[in-house]
Amino acid sequence: MLELDELSVTYRLDSADVPAVRGVSLELAAGEALGLAGESGSGKSSVALALLRLLPRSAVVGGRVMLDGEDVLAMKWGRLRAVRWSSASIVFQGAQHGLNPVQRIGDQIAEPLLVHRQASGTDAAARVRELLAQVGLPAWRARSYPHELSGGQRQRVMIAMALACGPQLIIADEPTTALDLMVQAQVLTLIRQLIADHGISLLMISHDLSVLADVCDRLAVMYAGRLVEVGPSSEEFRHPYSQALAAAFPTVGDPASRLAPRGLAGDPPDPQQLPGGCAFHPRCPVALDSCATSDVQLRASGTDRTAACVLVGE
């Protein structure tokens, strides 16, 4: 379905080149849900944008992005336009800014349908009603403006738009980040149900591992522009960075985290000044001397798991 092969993204700034993504290879099977986790600056959002070539001109993209056997990075504009929305679509975070404030919800959902000539006039209106029902909104909401909706409802509208042209892949970038706990649960339930009902593949990006583990079959963790671990979401992480990230969101009721918040010393690295060796070594609680000089690539670390750490073996 989707295959990333040594994807790299470098932002050309006046002063310097900033490597945001440094060789990411990933596969996503049809109907599979994959979670991509990482902190700010890890390159996770650059990956999402690179998939549909939505990056600014200053970004240089390398490697290959194969979507259903076609290289997205080599597509002509016309083909790319057809692929966006109808083969793969994106749900962005912050539903505040993703919607046009002066256009009715229904018209905004209908727009991709009309642009891609998947429906016309009355058909489009019927399809909009159907889509609103799928995301749990009443049909009369088609006549509302974005400001009349709550944050959770706006996020539902964004999901309806992403579903409009019947894509096989949905890329969701922090779809629940600004939402309240209960509304987040509602939206996650909706996403889980939609991908199951329609057999859609999902690439979900978040800084919150617990949210990803909730929806996705497999989890990939990024640090400083690279994948450090990929494995099934039902198992424990083995890379020290993924473990620290998981521990940062405590399990309520777990005595080990009671009055003992856990995190990492230091801050995520500046992509312009990446540490040598393993990029994580300055913050790693179990780093060896050799980690400062030798870099480790992703390698097999148990069944269906790869990790990039000298301390994590087969």
Partner: protein
């Protein structure tokens, strides 16, 4: 230490209706105690925090610090704010981008005319974990990482040597790996300096990480409160039960429908009854929709405002 009694805060709402943001709250924060005030957006938790800081005047009820009721004269407020300090969320937004770290932290001591400004600033930065402090004096917010900026905001609050910190979502805008360090800092300030804190958050994991006591707020009222272990491991109120059930680790989910309702239209009876899963399942009592509940007292024991709770 800091206590709110029968506090109500109303705002003029749309169409002449009054929004009852805080609608009868008793809450106390004891010396050296960390209390988490938990709720969804719009439940009134931020208004309650602002009122506890003297930034908002209550419509009725009172705030007391160390047993003395807060009066709203300029002089009294100034004295009060040396004791009770605010830590804002989003340090990028709350720090002036054109002020150095030194100026940001020195602002409070200058307003209050504290002597020996440089020592005060340097010790506040050190206590907030920015060491050596002199190295940070001339830095600007954009030169710092998110975690360091949040430490500067905390140092600004510590500079006045307060007894109580009120922190509104202190880690919501921080990276996951940095969050633990800031929460550890709050715990350390309590252990080393005996600071009390009221932490306003929607994050139950945060409450589990640092709070001694949890108060759960829904639509202007505290619906359940008590020691963290009791409230989070054995919740009695259906709303608290629902909030905990949607955490990823929970085996069974109770996803409430709808969004938190409007504080201009607070339902009669128990304010939670239109969304209550027990009422929806037909297990409600007649009084759920007719009889207003008593306001919970400000005690430290477990208590719950619900007709259906067994204890």
């Amino acid at each position: 230490m800091l206590e709110a009694t029968d506090l109500r805060v109303e705002f003029p709402g749309r169409g002449g209706r009054r929004a009852r943001a805080v609608d009868g709250v008793n809450l106390s924060v004891g010396a050296g105690e960390i209390v988490a005030l938990v709720g969804e957006s719009g439940c009134g938790k931020t208004t309650l925090a602002r009122t506890l800081l003297g930034l908002e005047r209550p419509t009725s009820g009172r705030i007391a610090y160390d047993g003395t009721p807060l009066s709203y004269s300029g002089r009294a407020l100034r004295a009060f704010r040396r004791q009770v300090q605010l830590v804002l969320q989003d340090p990028m937004g709350s720090l002036n981008p054109r002020h150095t770290v030194y100026e940001a932290v020195a602002e409070g001591p200058r307003i209050h005319g504290l002597p020996d400004e440089e020592t005060v600033v340097s010790s506040a930065l050190a206590r907030a974990g920015l060491r050596p402090p002199e190295r940070f004096f001339q830095r600007f917010p954009h030169e710092l990482s998110g975690g360091q900026r949040q430490r500067v905001v905390i140092a600004g609050a510590l500079a006045l040597d307060p007894k109580v910190l009120i922190a509104d979502e202190p880690v919501a805008s921080l990276d996951a790996s940095v969050r633990g360090e800031i929460l550890s800092l709050l715990l350390r300030l309590r252990d080393d300096l005996g600071l009390s804190a009221l932490v306003v958050t929607h994050d139950l994991g945060l409450a589990w990480n640092i709070a001694d006591r949890v108060a759960v707020m829904y639509l202007g009222r505290i619906v359940e409160s008590g020691p963290t272990e009791e409230v989070l491991k054995n919740p009695q109120h259906p709303y608290t039960q629902a909030l905990l059930s949607v955490l990823p680790e929970s085996p069974e989910r109770i996803v409430l429908t709808g969004e938190p309702p409007d504080p201009t239209r607070i339902p009669a009876g128990c304010r939670f009854h239109p969304r209550c899963q027990l009422v929806a399942a037909g297990n409600g009592k007649p009084e759920c929709s007719t009889q207003p509940l008593q306001i919970l007292p400000a005690g430290t024991d477990s208590q719950v405002a619900c007709y259906l709770a067994t204890t």
